[in-house]
Symmetry: C2
Subunit: 377 residues, 2 copies
Amino acid sequence: MTRIRELSTPAAVIDTERMQRNIDRMQGRMSNLGVSFRPHVKTSKCLPVVKAQIAAGARGITVSTLKEAEQFFEAGVTDILYAVGMTPDKLPRALALCRRGCNLKLITDNVAAAREIETFGKQHGTAFEVWIEIDTDDHRSGIRPDDALLLEVADALQGTGARLGGVMTHAGSSYDCDSREALLAISEQERAGAVLAAQRIRDHGAACAGVSVGSTPTALSAAQLEGVTEVRAGVYVFFDLVMRNVGVCAMDDIALSVLTTVIGHQKEKGWAIVDAGWMAMSRDRGTQRQKRDFGYGQVCAEDGAVLEGYIMSGANQEHGILSRSGEPDDRIAERFPIGTRLRIMPNHACATAAQYPEYQVLRPDGGTEAWPRFYGW
Amino acid sequence: MTRIRELSTPAAVIDTERMQRNIDRMQGRMSNLGVSFRPHVKTSKCLPVVKAQIAAGARGITVSTLKEAEQFFEAGVTDILYAVGMTPDKLPRALALCRRGCNLKLITDNVAAAREIETFGKQHGTAFEVWIEIDTDDHRSGIRPDDALLLEVADALQGTGARLGGVMTHAGSSYDCDSREALLAISEQERAGAVLAAQRIRDHGAACAGVSVGSTPTALSAAQLEGVTEVRAGVYVFFDLVMRNVGVCAMDDIALSVLTTVIGHQKEKGWAIVDAGWMAMSRDRGTQRQKRDFGYGQVCAEDGAVLEGYIMSGANQEHGILSRSGEPDDRIAERFPIGTRLRIMPNHACATAAQYPEYQVLRPDGGTEAWPRFYGW
């Protein structure tokens, strides 16, 4: 049995008790609100994690790449929403999945792509299920709920090569919130926009069964989800410092951390140098513009206890610089001698996890287990 | 034969003509300066790239992880400098490499680690070759050339379990330069500091054969390298926008770019949305504090031609937002219709390359070839 103290560093460590608590919290909330839950697997890209989400009650998954769709379909998941706008060059891969029995849902927000999908489907004897992406918060992609374009795209999906499955939206600007009021407001805006878009399509005479919304902050904040059929969220499974600053998790909900070893010091500067740099943490500085900046991460003891005030204040490729916020610690070399093992909570779990071929999972019996993770497109 | 227009996006594309030019330029410079060149393979983590560096005249390699050492040793490279401070927990892996015949060089900057290495070597009948890390620019790790600690560490390496191979330094602050004068000054500071440290060790009565310096900016700027035996540099093999801003390469020297497809628009904002987000580019925003901020990258046509003024101004996990610097382009949807294929030059090649399991290499005959790349620790 490999224990945490025997793991080679840096390593991406999952606290499974916390992860399971996060999964149960989200699924319980969705069940109470009377909607299906379709987790976004881009965060973990790891089968045992997704199995735990499905075991808790998730219905289908959301993916951000066709590789995720292919990998999870191979593992037995059949209901998959590919939540990035479809382009013509990817249609052959989507077709291959559909022909093997995958219930794949594509998305689009424009007439050109809608027509390409429909034409390609017709040519290959497949009716692709397509959802229309709605822009409910002006932050990225999608059609505004009241835009005339919405009905043009719905019309473009009425051929034999495509069928309209529903509308979907992601209020990504919820990541900018940090108050209960703001979170409630953006959640309702996301819900209302998606429901309005679906209603306009139905009033136009087309079927629009699905109404899909979600982000971790809005999923955990919405007061009611009338008219919504399903919710999507990803990062909640691990949580991170950005979500802690948004206000939807506590520090001790964060289930992912990076195990690292102290390799040196610059005593006069109050620095400890560790073997986890930005390659191990990612370059994500998501807390930089939030109410509390954690640098590249929050320093914890090897057992996970938060070491208040100590952060990774700088990072090179394979070197991290740990220091105390505010006044430098002139005894940092005594506090963290060479060889000290620490854990760093990340700003953004999706970005940090992506740097690792596998997770090291802490089991309740004190042992660890490696869970493989994939990457690429 | 797969042509670039048939590649699935996003993809990490290498222009081999540029790469070879970059390799030849660096090796030619090192030969003229009369020093060995030991490329840092952390940038590519790719055997064909390293083979091209060795074919051009490189002597040995530098690595940032033991995994790199293991992978390249397996592929036949025997002279390897592991350029991150050694910790006790990694000694068994280092020992295994030495026993298989690897000429592995470790580094340290403190007495505690030096003693641990020596003791472990003695216990296992191996004399580890250890180099002392010198801090020549106050930016990260290492011992200052005039610090008394230098001789203590040298003494700690005089047992049967270790032998002092030399001194090494990396003036990472050269990345902050943007003038010829500043680059010349930091290069000389790096050289002089390393040479002084070696001289102090020799005056102390110990052997100190190797004097290793380097970073891409200093390697390309040093006027003379008297007393230096070898130079290390990594990112020069691909170059990137940060190096362009530092002033050591031109835009058309950048050999790595990310191939992407336009998936949507927000016309009123002058945005084109592409299928390369920060997962494809990395979160590195290295040009943010430089004289020219390229956002997440410089937009180019599929053939590599720079589209002046267009940058990736924003990025989500799998979505990139392209826009024109300054005044928004209200005709961006006509300029870059759905399905348009573009290439994005990265801020930092080491970070961008790390996101990909393989490179797509453009061959002179117009075909492409996949070169595998590894990651992890």
